[in-house]
């Protein structure tokens, strides 16, 4: 944090106060909202899910504070419901033709149309998220052109296929530029100036960390098992492998084995995701400006990694009941390690609210696509 002050004081003559984002939600309160959402969704056969989504997002946004003011989520649940119905019907039609009626040509037609519409839908989703978010009653806005999306997806899918994804960090930077450099808060313009070399560096670092981590874990596991066996032998207990084999039927061994593997997999993936999230969040924040104001990320990869792992363990052992707590904990860490450095919070002029299609957003939601906004 001292470093942070130095940087800012060098940039400007006057020391501009940096503010961290604050998160004021709490697990107990969110648990109630979450569980009522699920129960009402079940009772209404899914219709309430649109309202549930709005309530969840409203809760998260409204509890996010910057400089004493909170954010607002303004999506209309009725429009979300319409978007959901359209997406689910198209998917249902596809499944019907593909799996049930075996009319593969029609199914392929639906898939092709969906594929061609994909860049448009992704742009729709980006636009939806931004225009429904506001801060101090001034909405965000996306002004990117649809042709740029088509150009991006065409060029970068080909580039990645031919380079076996070695060029992916470059695509990552270009996509973030496509998103952020056309994003506005009121009339304030976002600008992302990350460079490809920096993205490569992060991917390389993550790659090395993952290898080191996997090696470390297997070493630890080996050490623990061998000392465990040595300890047992020292105590005069010998493991009768044959007796053990007879005791456990092959099915039980496979079951235990797959549970253990899944468990390790979940733990590792959660660690890895949170760890990488911290690196990329810092990178994104440090390279993004809003007019003359700028962001700083101060996330510690190890700290966020530990939060990720303990979250998944808490979720598994509570059979999902600690999900709201875990979600809030993760979000709080990320927000409270994000800074915004701005001279004047009153300066942003609004261009007003817009309405638009919800199909893109609901498609992204339904297929759980992460556009990483």
């Amino acid at each position: 944090m001292d470093k942070l002050k130095d940087e800012t004081s060098e940039d400007k003559e006057k020391v501009v106060p940096y503010k961290t984002f604050e998160f004021k939600g709490n697990g107990k309160e969110f648990f109630r909202i979450w569980i009522v959402n699920i129960a009402l969704t079940i009772l209404t056969l899914g219709i309430y899910s649109a309202w549930a989504k709005v309530r969840t997002n409203r809760y998260m946004y409204a509890n996010t504070y910057l400089n004493g003011s909170n954010f607002e989520y303004n999506a209309d649940p009725k429009r979300i419901l319409i978007g959901r119905i359209i997406v689910v019907s198209i998917y249902a039609l596809f499944v019907l033709f593909y799996q049930q009626l075996m009319l593969f040509k029609i199914a392929a037609g639906i898939a092709l149309v969906a594929f061609i519409a994909m860049p448009w839908l992704i742009r729709q989703a980006v636009s939806f998220k931004l225009r429904n978010t506001s801060y101090r009653h001034v909405p965000f806005k996306y002004k990117g052109d649809i042709s740029e999306f088509y150009a991006f997806f065409l060029i970068h899918s080909l580039l990645n296929i031919f380079t076996l994804f070695l060029i992916f960090p470059y695509s990552y930077i270009q996509f973030k530029k496509l998103l952020l450099n056309h994003s506005y808060y009121g009339q304030g313009k976002f600008n992302f100036s990350g460079r490809t070399g920096e993205a490569y560096k992060i991917y390389f670092k993550l790659f090395l960390w993952n290898i080191a981590f996997l090696l470390g874990v297997s070493l630890m596991a080996g050490l623990v098992t061998s000392t465990g066996i040595a300890l047992l032998e020292a105590l005069g207990i010998t493991l009768d492998m044959d007796a053990l084999k007879k005791m456990l039927s092959p099915e039980i061994i496979t079951l235990l084995g797959s549970i253990f593997l899944l468990f390790s997999y979940f733990t590792f993936i959660s660690w890895q995701k949170a760890f990488a999230d911290a690196y990329f969040s810092n990178f994104m924040r440090n390279k993004t400006t809003l007019d003359k104001a700028f962001f700083r990320g101060n996330l510690y990869p190890f700290a966020l990694g530990m939060i990720g792992v303990s979250n998944i363990l808490a979720i598994i052992f509570s059979l999902g009941l600690l999900y709201p707590w875990a979600k809030i904990r993760y979000l709080r860490y990320k927000l409270e390690h994000t800074y915004f450095i701005c001279q004047d919070y009153d300066q942003f002029e609004s261009e007003g609210y817009e309405k638009g299609s919800t199909i893109g957003e609901e498609m992204i939601d339904f297929f759980d696509i992460d556009i990483g906004l």
Partner: protein, 334 residues
Amino acid sequence: MLINALMYDGKSSKEHKVVMEFTFGRRVLISSHNIDVALDEVSIESRLGNTPRVLNFPNGIRCKSTENDKIDQVLRDFGISKSKAYKIESSLALTLGSVLITIGFIWFMLTAGANYTATALASVLPQTTLDEVSEMSMNQLEAHYLKPSKLSEAQKNIIQTHFDLLTKGENQYHLHFRASPEMGPNAFALPSGDVVLTDELVALSKDSEFRDILGVLAHEKGHVVHKHSLRMAIKTGVAGVIIGYITGDVSVIATMVPTILINSSYSREFEREADAHAVKELKKMGISTKYVAELFESLVKEHEGLENNNSMMGMISSHPLTSERIEYFKSYSQ
């Protein structure tokens, strides 16, 4: 009533500290900004925990107030109904009720619910659909694992007669004789009622009248009667949705988890159910269950021998052969 709020004009990000006054004439005043509007023109968003309440005024003006309790009081005083969602969320009993509904629903869908849904779905799905799906898998199997049977006509006739007796009056069932060195001794049923029996299994039979094979066929019919494939699909689907929702962030693998877990634990339940069906059918036909028990015993031996050969048998066989199941048949064989 006076309520403190922050006001935004919707034109810029400027923030104004204001006091809203709710008057008895159902009007809202913000005197510092010369605002005087009817209460009914102000839309007040539903309460959400203790987040600042949003009040939207005409002309794009928005106020936010943290004095939620006072606003609720105003709503009560003026007879405007509070949000139902907040009522449920703020009531301990209703929140607990939600927990119970959720857990109950998941439990139900993974147990009895899957059976009801399977039955309901099966009655909605036209039989032609089931047939077509089965035909697809049958074609796949024919192409990769199944070869024409080398059984003699006499052998086939005996088994076919058993099968016809077993499925008397139900014309959805068809028996297919096939050889399959890859699968080894095996029998399986498709949801359409097509039952496949391998020569390798027939070869293991020690009964000249093939009463043991009849037991196996009755078992396979049990799978069809109890709609096991559909039930499995539903349970896998439900578990997939739940796990996917809860783990959210790790959804890549989430769809595979239930398949692995359910296949190994539920298949035993299904085998038991099919076994019970076989016992029932055999009893009805007056045939002892000892033959099929013996066949299972020789299958276990065969299985142990094959394990060392690294055969496909262990992987494909959907029938975990346990001494428990053999004992089960034996217990009915007096």
